[in-house]
Point group: C2
Chain length 194, copies 2
């Protein structure tokens, strides 16, 4: 990442209202997954939620006695992945990433704590995976967590080619309800015996 040099040596103060910037990363994919999870919950197919973004609250005001207004807080680094829940009696845990890159998936997008968390999910007998969207192609893959983590540990490069996902990922069908039928892929990959 490059650093912009400002004339006076520091960046101008910016104020952003309306949208939560951090949770805005990969907003479209996140919205699609949230919508799909809502559909899966309402159809009693699965019970999967996005975890709230962890926030360190420093100061709270009480403009009226019933309403707490947070006036100083900071985003914290999550120690886990973004999504978890239960499907067909099994613990489900995954992370979603949206890549703007055309030819490869940049590895800085996967954080060490996400890798170690998904390794533990696997160890405890849960189902763990990544949902990775390549924006340019409009294609979304589900990749088993251990398969991707193995490749991350094997490669010496800072990204994994798009081709690798074509070979090792599973395309998630997009539609209306659910937007992303990712549990169909989970059925095919993790419930083969049925």
């Amino acid at each position: 990442m490059s650093t912009i040099k400002y004339p006076n040596g520091s960046a101008p103060q910016k104020t952003t209202s309306v949208r939560d910037f951090h949770s805005g990363r990969g907003m479209n994919l996140e919205n699609d997954i949230n919508d799909s999870n809502k559909f899966y919950r309402e159809s009693n197919i699965a019970l999967i939620y996005k975890k709230p973004t962890p926030v360190q609250v420093v100061r709270v005001d009480y403009p009226d006695r019933k309403k707490a207004k947070i006036t100083e807080a900071y985003y914290r680094t999550p120690s886990t992945t973004d999504y978890n829940g239960i499907y067909r009696g099994k613990y489900i845990d995954f992370e979603a990433k949206e890549s703007a890159n055309k030819t490869s998936f940049p590895l800085f997008m996967v954080h060490p704590h996400q890798i170690s968390h998904l390794e533990k999910v696997h160890m405890h007998g849960g189902i763990g995976f990544f949902i990775i969207r390549f924006k340019e192609y409009g294609v979304t893959y589900l990749v088993d967590s251990m398969v991707l983590i193995k490749e991350i540990k094997r490669t010496e490069k800072s990204s994994i080619p798009y081709k690798w996902f074509e070979e090792n990922g599973h395309v998630i069908k997009e539609g209306l309800c659910p937007r992303l039928a990712y549990l169909k892929v989970v059925d095919a990959c993790y419930f083969k015996e049925d």
Copy 2:
């Protein structure tokens, strides 16, 4: 709950710093459970986390380019319970409550969304329960979610007597590591066949 009438008709503005007031409810029990979960995770016994308190972010400042400072945000009502994860291959989901009441557990402490969430956990084949501490006695019970929910739906009172917990709950042993050995109770209640 009573309403205090202030001379000018409105409550004085209060500012609280240091401690997050909302997550401070039942702080001791929460700390004990978080410590226990940390122990269980580090010993590779279970992978259970408290979910972050959901916060609606309205305004974010960037005093410097790398640090986002939230300057206006509000607590949101969680749609699920506080804790979930995986233990012995099973999905685990629970809510913790600390009651200052001596003779009974007040039912306003259990929210409707927690009841419906735990009903769904049960339906999907997960293990769901409540951890309820009676501060006055220094005793902490694990109660199966469906057993407590059945009693909540059955009773016409606004609380459940302490005696009911003695009869239907399971005392959680307290110690050093873990502080609350609640998974021992989970073993006894949900993995009987082993």
